[in-house]
Symmetry: C2
Subunit: 348 residues, 2 copies
DNA sequence: CTGAAAGCGCTTACAG
DNA sequence: CTGAAAGCGCTTACAG
């Protein structure tokens, strides 16, 4: 292995000078600089990371601003798990991460957490900008401080985000459609269920809906009706109120797509109403959905991989800070297609 | 961060003694040893990996014995790619890996490569033991040298392998079955195609067949015939010879499962014979299969993730050598279920 | 059984 | 603009 000492000897300078050149720290004569660069390249110098980490003692402090995980959806716990994993495997580099968690839909708490981050003077931020307006304001502050930030889960246009890591919701809507199309007889109808107080504001669900419908425009063979319904909450009462009349008026329904992680509530409805023969496709793998997958009320789950997203976010941010490598601006993460038979392979 | 120096001061000994205790290098009085251990625990000492890597200058030399990748199946190139990735991200640790590749089915070349490995005195081996007898002999030699080895892709019982990394072929046969079962009308028949000179000896294909059939025994709703056929080569001629009469005698066939990566050859047959409406499910994602997935002659591919398998193998071996952590003996890797719509998310 | 010293390859002030 | 020296936390002989 080539050391800076070897380069220094060949160039007839000291190792201090070599170091200055290699790190563009200036204060070096152009001529010396060029010579050293040339020799370094010729000798295929690669820095010894163990030595530089040890000597520099530089630590990177990252902040992650995310919704809290909940029983209803452990999605966000997955991100934290993945981030921890990344930090561990980044040893022996000195990287710290602090988590600033807020209740989903609690704007006030979100703002509080961003305030804390701004005070803590961190080197980089991983942000789930689920509340658009508040997130934009925060990004403006980060821009002022010249602190880089990476979006996770949700994308906001016209910001200086370093990168985005998340699902291609439109395409994952198409996947749901293709699965239903494969299993459904051609003359049956399809019900699209959105469980949301405010569908307009939930970009993800909207994109999945659009992708779902687009598939049947350009690729699907199924030609039955596509019926959309919005249910304000996941209480059984609300679900009954909405779905009972729909099923009454549309006996041709053969499949349901639920655009969110709350798929299990619709599976529960089917179980209660003894509708075993209806295809059900939904999103996200976690215990409540899995139990209905096992009971075969849910046929497929399309699932993001939150651990991997969290892991990737940390790596990207760290490598940017450490090497100034500019990551891809937008990198969609693959989703898993899961059914009852693929489950045993995933539960580790 | 706690350093050995801190422990030494508290214990009233030198750092040399602390080091001897922490690494069980002996030559320490029981009393001293106990004291140091106690203090190290109390202070939550964790070694600085950068410093120890730098100081020890120990390098690990690994060997990977794998089949060569081919146009027909780039599967094994994927493993190499993953291993390289692992080595890179293992920086700044000093890990080298040498690849000893052999032509699939060439026993002589396999033996040659194992000889080379035995001569090169490596610290650990990653082995694809696709030729059982030859592999067992090699393992015996490794056992004599006390060199640890990890199996990849294929498992051989009654060896001292450190771990196994590969597919659960039986379960992935069940996945193929469940997909076909989902899409196929109940009264249609299913054709199982094995393209192999010697089905007996290819454990993988056998297990997939067993899994496939088991699904219909205990879970499937489809009750049509299951017809198995073995085709000796993937020449179009051989395929025609076998399949033409089968289709003639069994007009009820509605789906085909191909147990191997050669799925594209059967897709080609369907294309030539203009059999568009037959469901086709097969294995492994690579260009030839993908093109028929896009043309929708193949409905689903069930695919291993060779890169991740290669990566994992290196990590496991390295962490065993470096920390003596004993890995899980047998760890099945998840497979991807891929259709035409999930493809855009996977091509990075 | 124990300690003191040199050294791993780099970074960081500091002196000139 | 350049060099010499100290130090990061550990490991490795070596002396006693």
């Amino acid at each position: 292995m080539v050391r800076i000492k070897d380069i220094a000897e060949r160039a007839g300078v000291s190792i201090g000078t070599v170091d200055r050149v290699l790190h563009n720290r200036g204060e070096v004569a152009k001529k010396t600089s060029k010579l050293v660069m040339k020799i370094a390249e010729e000798m295929h110098y690669t820095p010894n990371l163990a030595a530089s980490t040890l000597a520099s003692k530089k630590t990177y402090n990252l902040a992650a601003i995310l919704p809290k995980g909940s029983d209803d959806n452990i999605f966000w716990d997955g991100h934290v798990e993945g981030m921890r994993r990344a930090i561990t495997s980044l040893q022996p580099f000195l990287v710290n991460i602090s988590y600033y968690l807020f209740e989903l839909n609690n704007e006030k708490e979100f703002i509080e957490q961003t305030r804390l981050v701004l005070n803590d003077n961190v080197d980089g931020v991983i942000l789930a900008p689920v509340m658009k307006n508040e997130a934009i304001e925060f990004c403006t502050e980060l821009d002022k401080l010249n602190t880089p930030y990476i979006f996770i889960d949700t994308y906001i246009k016209n910001t200086n985000n370093l990168a985005f890591i998340g699902e291609d919701a439109y395409q994952s809507g198409r996947i749901a459609a293709s699965l239903i199309d494969f299993g459904l007889s051609e003359n049956r109808d399809i019900l699209i269920v959105n469980i949301s107080k405010n569908l307009e504001n939930t970009q993800h669900l909207n994109s999945r809906n659009q992708g779902f419908l687009s598939y049947f425009m350009d690729a699907g063979r199924n030609d039955g009706l596509k019926i959309s319904v919005e249910i304000p909450s996941n209480s059984f009462r609300d679900i009954e109120d909405k779905l009972d009349p729909i099923f009454k008026n549309n006996p041709g329904i053969g499949a349901i797509m639920v655009s969110s992680a709350k798929t299990y509530t619709i599976a529960h409805y089917l179980e209660m109403k003894r509708k075993r023969d209806i295809i059900l496709v939904g999103y996200e793998m976690f215990d409540k959905n899995i139990s209905y997958l096992k009971k075969r009320y849910i046929n497929f789950l399309i699932s993001q991989k939150p651990q991997e997203q969290g892991e990737k976010a940390v790596y990207k941010l760290f490598y940017f800070l450490a090497n100034k490598t500019i990551p891809d601006k937008k990198e969609f993460q693959p989703v898993d297609i899961i059914n009852c038979e693929s489950l045993p392979l995933l539960s580790k």
